[in-house]
Amino acid sequence: MAEGSVIGRETVVRGNVRGSGGLEILGRVEGDVSIEGDVLLGDGAAVRGNISGAQLTIGGAVLGDLRGTESVLVEAGARVVGDLLAPRIGIAEGALVRGNVRTEGEPALAPPAAKRPVPGQRPISSFSAPRQVSPSITRPSPVEARPIERERPAERVEAKAQPAETPATKSSPENEPPPPIVPALPKNARGKKKSRPK
C-alpha cells in the first residue's frame, strides 16, 4: 500500500492535509486539502475548507472551493457551497452546488465525461455549415442567406472571403442605398454641432 491515504469514517482532522498520492475522505476535515493525486470524498464525509487535487470526486458535503487540475465531479447527493474550477466539471442530477463554476485549462487527455462531447460537436457543425452555405449564396435567394448571416457570425467571414459572389447578390435586389448615407453622416454631424451651441 503506502500510495493511497484514507481518512476514515470515525476520524476528524482539524488542520491542513497536503502531499502526494490519492486521498479518500470518509470522515471529516476542517482545513484545506491540497493533494497532487486524486481526492475522493465519500458519501457522508464533510470538508470545511478548500480542496485541490488532480481529479476530485465529491459525494459528501464541502464548504469551500474545489479546484481540480484535471476534473471535478460532483455526484448525486453531494452538497457543495463554494466555487468549482477545473478543465472538466461534472455535476450529477441530485447534487447541490452553490457557487461559481468555471471550466478552465486544457483537458488532460481524452475526455471520459459524458458532458464533454456535447460542446465539442458544436464547432464541428459550424465549420461544416459555411462550406454548405457558400454554394447557397450563388442561388438567387438573398432572403434566405441574410438571416443565417445574423445567426452565425462565422459565416460572415466566409461571405467576405468571396467578394466575387457577394456583391452580385447584394446589388441586384436592393441597389445599395446605405453607401451614400455613410459619407453624408460626418457632414450632417458638423452641422448639428454648429446648431447645438445656438
Binding site: E10, T11, V12, R14, G15, N16
Partner: protein
Amino acid sequence: MAGTVIGEGLTIEGEVTSDEEVVVHGTLRGTLKCGDVVSVGSGAVIEADVDASSLSVAGHVTGNVNASERVDLQAGGRLVGDVKAARLTIADGASFKGNVDMEV
C-alpha cells in the same frame, strides 16, 4: 482495512481525532487522539503528542505518548518523548529517549 491511513507522501498538520485504527506511513504534526490502535510505519514521521489505546512504532515519533493499553517500540523505530502506558516493550535495535510511567 484500516480505518484511517495516512499514506506515504501525505502530510497532516493539525489535530487528528479518531475512534478507529490509524496507520501512519506519512507525516503528522500536531496532535493524534485515537480510541483504537495506532501503527506508525517504518517511513513515518510523527511530531505530535499521541493518545491511543495502543501504539506500535516502527518509524520516528517525537512527542509524549499516552496509551491506555500498550506501547510497542519495534526494531528500527525511534521514540523521543515520555511514555505513559501500562505495558511497554522496546525491541532490540530501537531507539528511545524519555521517561516511562507504567502506573505502578
